[in-house]
Amino acid sequence: MQKILPINYIEKINKDYFIIYIKNKELALKSKPGQFFELLPMGNYKGLLRKPISIYNIENDTIGFMIKKIGYGTKYLSQLKVGDFIDFLGPLGNSFNIPMNQKVMLISGGIGYAPLFYLSKELKNKHNSVIWIHGGRSEKDIFDSNIMNYTNDGSYGKKGFVTSNLEKILEVEKIEKVFTCGPQIMMKEISKITQKKEINTEVSLESYMACGIGVCKGCSVLIKKNNENVYKTVCKDGPIFNSKEVVWDE
């Protein structure tokens, strides 16, 4: 779907992060955890391509997008005001496979927190018990004091990486499934660990995108299929892949 909608509400988290909320029943109903939209700000936006942004939250008709300021596009989005229009393309991509009555773990790094938030709610709706480990560079990258937080500089929560005690926690908590989103290197490490322990793991990948719908093949990543490496599109075949399929070292 493509819809031009006004911003309904903006939540500033801190200097680097903010959340844009829009209201649209149709889009909200269609949106599943792990999916994303391609955003194009209206007006004097200088950029050419849309910006892929995950669904952070859905509540009734409201859709939230949690965004980190990186470059021109995300900074432009951060300067928008309530009532400004954005052109939304989506929901796009596949979605997380949500189990029932399991012990699952979410592991996020930085803005990788965003897609897991909506996922965590849906997981709880399906009676899963959820443990969430989140890591960031410093206090600024921490969004919820009620989950397990790590910072690289120790400015909040434990000092270290989300992988620091992961093996032990997975064992102790008897985790049956892992969902992760964050820097490539983090997801790779986690996949190594969970693969050893044979825990089903879903990763949310990122890639530079143009069309967002599977046409341009610009977002291709190497995926193992029947012992062969093939290029799959993150935008349509993904962004969610089973960690076992991902060819991490290309």
């Binding site: 050419l48 849309r50 530079y208 995108m209 046409v215 341009c216 093949k217 610009g218 291709s220």
Partner: protein, 303 residues
């Protein structure tokens, strides 16, 4: 709807708007009624499947897009099996883009496609590096383009369009060579060549170094080349290069294009083709103009 009709060589077009190869695919049917397009041009296929280039494959520059897709495609037979049936169903023109690494491979692909129904024309992508010309693209050598066109034109009665590269000293010469070889029409321009380097680290962004450059920024370049070629040849032109709206489309029609294709802009606005058709039609109706009377009518008259 007479005023928006046009022709490309042997083909009748209900309107002059089509899509640039590689920037459009079946996925757009969620957003666009394909039957409303002047034609569908498919992504370039090759004899064998191509997995494409190592990522990253895209990079946005100010107003432009660099791509290094590497002609990822399922190959001729898979295309015929899996994709052609989907496209065949539409009532508009279907133009298949393909490329080869030698003249005989081009011929082989064309002959195989001749067996298939529902195809209205071929767009010959000669911008791929090849062996017969020491690794340079076919499209930069007038003699080879002439020979290739000559051989292909003998093999088909379907529309034969040669897609030209802008990265040449004299595109007029190549265009003439294709015309003399028997091309029914020409398609231009393919992407410019560009590159991206990270100023922080000196890292070359694309694994192959260079990439194809497209988008609004290449429009003035494309417009000039279309104009030059239109003055040189007598066969019709399908134009592309940075076309982002119906006003751009009109500029190219004035420059000499019978048909215009939208490329990169599809990624930005999936409904751009339909919007362009509608806006063009409204404009023509309001001004009581017809496309056919505007083709090549760019003028220098003093005010």
């Amino acid at each position: 709807m007479n005023n928006i009709e046009t022709k490309l060589g042997k083909l009748q077009f209900q309107n002059p708007i089509t899509v640039a190869s590689g920037t459009f695919g079946y996925e757009y049917s969620d957003y666009v009624d394909f039957n409303k397009l002047g034609a569908i041009v498919t992504k370039t296929i090759t004899k064998h499947p191509k997995i494409g280039n190592k990522p990253p494959r895209l990079f946005e520059t100010s107003g432009g897009l660099l791509n290094s897709i590497g002609l990822q495609n399922p190959g001729l037979e898979n295309f015929i099996k899996d994709e052609l049936p989907k496209y065949r169903g539409f009532s508009t023109n279907l133009i298949i883009s393909f490329s080869g690494s030698s003249i005989s491979e081009f011929k082989e692909i064309l002959l195989r496609l001749e067996d298939e129904e529902g195809i209205d024309g071929y767009e010959i992508n000669v911008s791929c590096p090849n062996v017969e010309n020491e690794g340079l693209a076919f499209g930069v050598d007038a003699k080879i383009v002439n020979k290739l066109t000559g051989e292909l034109s003998k093999l088909t009665t379907r529309e034969l369009t040669i897609k030209l590269s802008p990265n040449v000293t004299d595109i007029k010469e190549i265009a003439k060579a294709a015309e003399d070889g028997g091309a029914d029409s020409l398609s231009l321009i393919n992407t410019l060549l560009g590159m991206a380097i990270d100023w922080k680290t000196g890292k070359i962004y694309f694994k192959r170094g260079l990439a194809g450059y497209s988008g609004p920024v290449i429009k003035p370049v494309a417009l000039n080349l279309v104009y030059q070629v239109a003055k040189t040849v007598n066969i019709p032109i399908m134009a592309m290069g940075g076309i982002s709206n119906w006003m751009d489309a009109l500029e190219f029609i004035y420059a000499g294009a019978s048909v215009v294709a939208i490329g990169t802009q599809n990624f930005v606005n999936p409904k751009i083709t339909i919007e362009t058709i509608n806006n063009l039609q409204n404009f023509l109706e309001e001004k009581k103009l017809t496309i056919k009377n505007l083709i090549g009518k760019a003028n220098m008259e003093e005010k």
